[in-house]
Symmetry: D3
Subunit: 236 residues, 6 copies
Amino acid sequence: MEPLIYIINASSRKDTGITDDLARSLLWLRGPNLPRIECVTLEDGPNGISTARDSDDAAPAVLRFVEREAQKSEVGAFVIACFSDPGVHSARELTRKPIIGIGEAGIMAALSFGDRVGTIGVSKSSPAANERFTRRLGVQERVAGHLAIALDYGQLKDEGVVTDRLIEAGRRLRDEYAANVLVFAGAGMGRYVKAVQTAVSLPVVDPTQVAAGLAIAQFMQLHQYCVERFDAHNRS
Amino acid sequence: MEPLIYIINASSRKDTGITDDLARSLLWLRGPNLPRIECVTLEDGPNGISTARDSDDAAPAVLRFVEREAQKSEVGAFVIACFSDPGVHSARELTRKPIIGIGEAGIMAALSFGDRVGTIGVSKSSPAANERFTRRLGVQERVAGHLAIALDYGQLKDEGVVTDRLIEAGRRLRDEYAANVLVFAGAGMGRYVKAVQTAVSLPVVDPTQVAAGLAIAQFMQLHQYCVERFDAHNRS
Amino acid sequence: MEPLIYIINASSRKDTGITDDLARSLLWLRGPNLPRIECVTLEDGPNGISTARDSDDAAPAVLRFVEREAQKSEVGAFVIACFSDPGVHSARELTRKPIIGIGEAGIMAALSFGDRVGTIGVSKSSPAANERFTRRLGVQERVAGHLAIALDYGQLKDEGVVTDRLIEAGRRLRDEYAANVLVFAGAGMGRYVKAVQTAVSLPVVDPTQVAAGLAIAQFMQLHQYCVERFDAHNRS
Amino acid sequence: MEPLIYIINASSRKDTGITDDLARSLLWLRGPNLPRIECVTLEDGPNGISTARDSDDAAPAVLRFVEREAQKSEVGAFVIACFSDPGVHSARELTRKPIIGIGEAGIMAALSFGDRVGTIGVSKSSPAANERFTRRLGVQERVAGHLAIALDYGQLKDEGVVTDRLIEAGRRLRDEYAANVLVFAGAGMGRYVKAVQTAVSLPVVDPTQVAAGLAIAQFMQLHQYCVERFDAHNRS
Amino acid sequence: MEPLIYIINASSRKDTGITDDLARSLLWLRGPNLPRIECVTLEDGPNGISTARDSDDAAPAVLRFVEREAQKSEVGAFVIACFSDPGVHSARELTRKPIIGIGEAGIMAALSFGDRVGTIGVSKSSPAANERFTRRLGVQERVAGHLAIALDYGQLKDEGVVTDRLIEAGRRLRDEYAANVLVFAGAGMGRYVKAVQTAVSLPVVDPTQVAAGLAIAQFMQLHQYCVERFDAHNRS
Amino acid sequence: MEPLIYIINASSRKDTGITDDLARSLLWLRGPNLPRIECVTLEDGPNGISTARDSDDAAPAVLRFVEREAQKSEVGAFVIACFSDPGVHSARELTRKPIIGIGEAGIMAALSFGDRVGTIGVSKSSPAANERFTRRLGVQERVAGHLAIALDYGQLKDEGVVTDRLIEAGRRLRDEYAANVLVFAGAGMGRYVKAVQTAVSLPVVDPTQVAAGLAIAQFMQLHQYCVERFDAHNRS
């Protein structure tokens, strides 16, 4: 079986097209030796994940999926593509295959590009909730702030509106919060990276892409594809 | 010109073969749309980087290289492949192209795979120096500990000895320091990941590989290769 | 309707008698003006809560209960009697009535009796998981350590064995971890407080009792029972 | 002798009626099995406690009282009802009976009801002094801010003025400092809880009441009143 | 009047000769332009300062002294030569002349010579008390540990015994706690610096001397003695 | 040979007169038993130190100087008079003689005079860079903020302009950032201390002076000049 890495959209909601957006944004991550990226929707997840309760409701679905799929030898790693990281730490007790949450990985990766990270979310969330998240990560001192663009699902379909709001939030995080790197606090927003980065002049991180990059880098190390194939390559 | 990402070995020392080791360990990171990975040795760097002074001596060489190469349009990002991150923060004042230090990126990536990171170094270094490093990163609370295998350059050529020492250090970090993820605190050690991970049963991160993975992920976002090629792909 | 405060056992498992233990340990909290303490078992919760996954599985049940019961005017507050605080922060988004998790409240109350808290759990759990919990609370610097007595459900019925193990853990936390206050990291262990405190000579906190005490104190303030009844008392 | 818990007003000043206010606000804490709450004024304390020096001057008086009274078997616990906690840590070296400072206990209890605590003081005090206090507690990351209503003793007698000022401070802490729970940083203000909580729509904690609640909960555990009387109750 | 800086021994106990030891250890700090160093014993202080209560009892005496002496124009600064810094922060509310506590200043100065400070005390004190102190300073992450030599006043007169114990504690702090700088947590121990530093091979800081050095440096800046006299010097 | 302490200006730039300013500001630090203060300019240092790169370029020059001079027995200590502390930690690996960076020492000394330190720099620098610095020191919680007066070398010669700007920055740090002590984040600014302190009414620390004071205090302890000369003094 061809090895694969799962990118999990824990929301069962279909009309938002997030799973397709994820797949599209990760198309570049293909190579002759690389595992396949498989983006999936959890049918038993909640109908959208925008509140803290939605995230709590998503965790059991994530855990059921990981428990079942981790047993398959071709599955190399799991990326939970929900910024609140539902079930991520519990899932690590179910399998020793890598489990990556895009929240953790997105913030940590952003902190490899800059010092003070500003997070831009979609749904309105409390400052307290964002702080709990980054305090649990132990990186509170490096968080500049969080802003939400606060659009509903209908408005999210208008790419122009979304882009404008993201840029506005990014500029405020840069100017009022002294952020010098930004991360999108959500899944499926990779297509806005370039525009926001250009307009705000700060590195902008899409958490799913860096999480997928980390998952593959770690998978390749584990399977030592690199050296074996390098040697074959040199011999041929 | 074909886009490329530099992986910089800041030591001018040749006999250790570190630059070749870096290239070999990153061979998997190739794909139809991906930028080229170019591993270079800084001729004006210090002769080996094992002390704090060596790292201070490496920084000006790194900065000269970045200043010169950042002007070339085909250069997409720089990975400074020395765990002490010489010149990384200063380099970010010279260019807006991504500058990634494998120290920062390695620790941050490890913290996306586990909670408490143990670092395994080659040269003997003081606990105080390691703490200064992680305290500056603001992740001190998530560092389990640091151990060095303390081998000289001669011994480092014996892969069996190195592997044994790394495994021994990894087990101590797991059992005595409660680490649940490990990172190699040095460049060019990718070939030991599999053996150590297998023996210690914890995720083991090679910092250069995750740094390169992050550099490419970020590069692809910036250039939005993904979406354009996806659309081309769909049309064809 | 008579006002009441719910103490919620989120596990549906019956044979452990935890809900009865909770009720028994809180019997003292009765008074002429005090709300009723109502201990309930969540029928739709997981069958025992000992792993991280169990806790994730408990949260949706907790949220369903709070959502339904918070609408009743006689309900004054909710105490979630599971040390991992499943659903606590999400529940606060469903109602403005006080939601108290015995994990948070137990640790915070312990830190009102001593400086360095040692937590004693029942199930074996990772140091990393305990740290995530206290780091999220922001009190990591005041945590001495965590030890689990690691007994299964069968052994937990033997009070003598449990007492011995708790005392052993308490002494180790005092002597090896420099704890100067202890808290039981679980529900329904109030009956062991006196024996452990006597043997270890440190304050021992049962988290459910302090959580219930806080819930009532807060309830009374909100309803200003105190002053009104004081005036009535003075007039009579 | 009937067991009792002391609530200590460390100021000798009489005209403010604080000791009476304390007694009144704790009247609800009575029950058939509960120890008596005894509110006392320290005659040898300073004449009012509003400056840092007043607090330093209060500590020796508190320690003399605790030293003398802790020897009486009927005394179960001491609550030092001054928010700066004069003598609290030293008193714990004089006796093993619980010593609770309303500053520590009030802030810790508030952090069981919300994430970011705002403190509202009476006297003007420096931000630096408030930070020293919460930094010593190790909860600095969870403190939203501190505001003082800055009224003199004369104005404090006008409940309308006090209420207005408290509400104004509470709203600022909520809106400008992102506090989601408030605590009164002083003794004898229990009568303002309901009005402020109603107006500001955040939980408001009176530190003396939660401290008294904790003292009783801890006392009951120690004396295991609960179980013995429960059994008696069941037998009858 | 000749300007002077007070070094305050807050203990009234005479037989220990601490005030004389302080004076002797600061004799080097004399120069043509420097203020006089005046070491005083507080007659109304407690009889020895070894417990937390002693320190609480010392604060009011310190404050009375500062209040009275700060009014004299020739007094330039106050050094409170008790490592627990009794009254230091309150004293700063009584005068704008510099108030330096040897605890704060000693630890901060030590952290200018090394990364991880080990403190060596005379009296036995709890780890919790030492942590409260350094946590309030906000430097907890840089504290390696605390050890006490635990000698009574009689034994303290035997310099040989004291030296041996200090060296033993210093070696343990270096080897078991990874301290790389030491500070004596007490007044009047300057005469042991050389022996301990020689034996342990780490910088050893006497807190009174660095506090006095800081007091004079700050005094000279304030009075701009330096420039005026430099100009006079150049003219002559 | 007469003992001496080096004050190192790591910039080779001559026209700014910084080395002379340093010497002038330290003239007061002379006494019959004190070592000589020797202010030197590093000819092989960068031409001015205002950017992060300048600081990286200065470190190797500092290390060459320390390596060479530390071998001379008459040299007692080194003060690196550049606020970014180039080479300070590496230099400690080259010699056991005290190495003091004015950045570390200046901030630590300031925190012995007040709680919340505001730093006033000359060159414009990023908030992120300042935070990295103080986070590495582990005192981030006590930093109020940083402001730069942002003058070029020409404007720096106008003492009136510099004074006005420093006062303006000091007032903003006091009023908007709640600083209660200030430190100049640069070398050679001692002559502004008095004016700024008088205008802003907060303690103002010149980092070179406190660093020199600490260097001498530590030197005197090590050489035990104090006691020997005291005894001689008493005998004569």
